[in-house]
Amino acid sequence: MTQQASTTTREHLKPPVTHVGVLGWIRKNLFNSWFNSLLTVLVLYGLLVTIPPLFKWAFVDSLWYSSPQACREIDGACWSIIPKNARFIFFGFYPEDQQWRPLTAMILLFALVFYTQNRRSWNRALFPIWTFGLVVMGWLMHGGLGLPVVETAKWSGLPLTLTLSLFGMVGAYPLGVLLALGRRSKLPVIHSMSVIYIELIRGVPLISLLFMSSIMFPLFLPEGVTIDKVLRAQVAIILFTAAYIAEVVRGGLQAIPKGQYEAADSLGLNYPQAMRLIVLPQALKIVIPPSVGILISAFKDTSLVVIIALYDVLKTTKVTLSNPLWMGFSSEAYLALALLYFIFCYAMSRYSRKLEKALHTGH
């Protein structure tokens, strides 16, 4: 009875206005000490000085779909450079009448990625679906079987960027797993060769491997045999990414308790069986989030092929900028391209963080 009375009086006593709602939030998060109040004021002043002129440049004074001549007369941003050159920036030298093919391939890729990001679709069917998808994409890009063949030398723009990073990852993963197993192996020859490979590759910049593929590799081949430039760059990216994947997978292998290895041995499984059935399924599950991290850096790193004169999306943008008509609008073009890269990478990193939480079942 008395207790009930006290709760009713408590209900009438509301917290002070300055501690709840918007005011309370502002007080708690922005003005919780004299130092933080000062910081807030300084940051707000900084934003007030920089944001309005930038906003005016990017959205008020800007042109979105105009001729380059019209752009020269305004003070704002000339975003027109992207839509007016979209075909070249995104598809490069791919024959114009065939550009529906890379477009379809990219849509197919995004559909596959969208399908895969849902964890409920992670089952046995996933592997054949992806294999089929990759084959169809390769067929669309390259042609044959009824479609006119387009040489890889003409693959450029966004499809090339995506191809290099996607096949880079697909090719590097098995190699990386093998290298990780090799590094954990008790056989001295296998162990030392894996260590040398991994440390050598991780010690040098990607650009040196790309140089190797573009200027040194042709010397390795017998007379008359040539391998095209895109494929060589692709191999360099695969070899480079594999070393990083190996280290990530090794972390996963080390996280598997020794008892699992011993249990596999005591069941009488041989090495390949123990790895395939017991160890790798657990280890690879642990390393999914960091693998997405590697995919992100592989995606960003494909931009380095600019230096060996492959026409990825960064190079096609640069070529557009060297056109006298559109010269001088670099900031706009690079910002737009940065937004494109940002969307891809940010989506992947958010997804990797989400996965990390979902897969962290606690040990």
């Binding site: 933080n36 056989l187 040098v204 010397l219 940065a338 990193s349």
Partner: protein, 397 residues
Amino acid sequence: MGKAAAPDAESTPSAIPLWRDPKKRAIVFQIVVLLLVLGTAYVLFSNTQANLSRQSIATGFGFLQTESGFEIGESVIPYSSADTYGRALLAGALNTIKVSFIGIVLMTILGVFVGIARLSRNWLVSRMAAVFIEVMQNIPVLLQLFFWYAIFYEAFPSPRQALNPLPGLFLCNRGLIMAVPADNAAHQPMFIALIAALALWWVIRRWAKGRQERTGRSFPVVRTGLGLCLLLPALVWLAYGAPTALDIPELQGFNFHGGITVSPEFSALLLGLVLYTSAFVAEIVRAGIQAVSRGQIEAAMSIGLRPGQVLHLVVMPQALRVIVPPLTSQMLNLTKNSSLAIAIGFADFVSVANTTINQTGQAIEGVALIMAVYLCFSLSTSVFMNWYNKKTALVER
């Protein structure tokens, strides 16, 4: 029949067939792998030999002694096109070291700053830091380099209309031009005084640590050290009559003369590398500080340490153990990424080596040199890491 054979095999180990004995199988397997690798290497080597002799490309490092015939945009050591390839490559390597060193210092400062800002209790500051980290991490560093380089070339005016934000500082499409103190006899002794102050700082640090472990009394090492670093050179400067003459850049014709010029290539490279890598450093610093458990901080406060002491004596030593290993790998990343200088025309080692390859055609030697130089950086970093891990492992329980 199988049953009858089994006891036989057990009594005489030599009867185990080769493919059933794990030890022998391992040896055979390793020999096969080794032969495969050596065989591939031999095929590639003989192909290369044939190709080189057919295209009559010289081999060996003899070209290092011959005249290079190309200019380098900027160099730490005196260099002209009459010098040898060896000297050109040395100038390139020094440029790489210069940009990496300055970049690593700036990256660490900015990264620690942003990492702490990310943990700020001020919502606005923490959000701003998060936006900075996400934006910088998710845009390829090469694109960032192109962007800053384009800003220098397109947004900044020509030397005649150079921006002059501070007296003696000019910004134009030729780079950043600054006034510097004019050459003076006092500079060398001042530098020696600075070195002496650093040495003294180190001695004081050791002494203070020893005293604290014996008696528990602490000593303001950092403040004393910073004070010494300012005081000693300042005293020398006063002793030389306090020279204040400045070498102020002046516009003559189309360009500035005097002062020091930081080229747009160098500035863009440094800016891009520092901004990109510091975002990763900020995440490392944040994770390191968060790894120190709350109980440690509460325990430190409950034994009466002041907030500064909590940070200095309890949080930092533990956080650093988590921070330093990934931080060194970011330093190495910055060094490796400095090879992108070639894309914006800064003469770093890779860029000079590439020119050398184009002129001499000796691709194998050139690529081998690039790899060797970067491997040196990586190996020295891992030597440092091993030393550091050993040192911190001693502290561990």
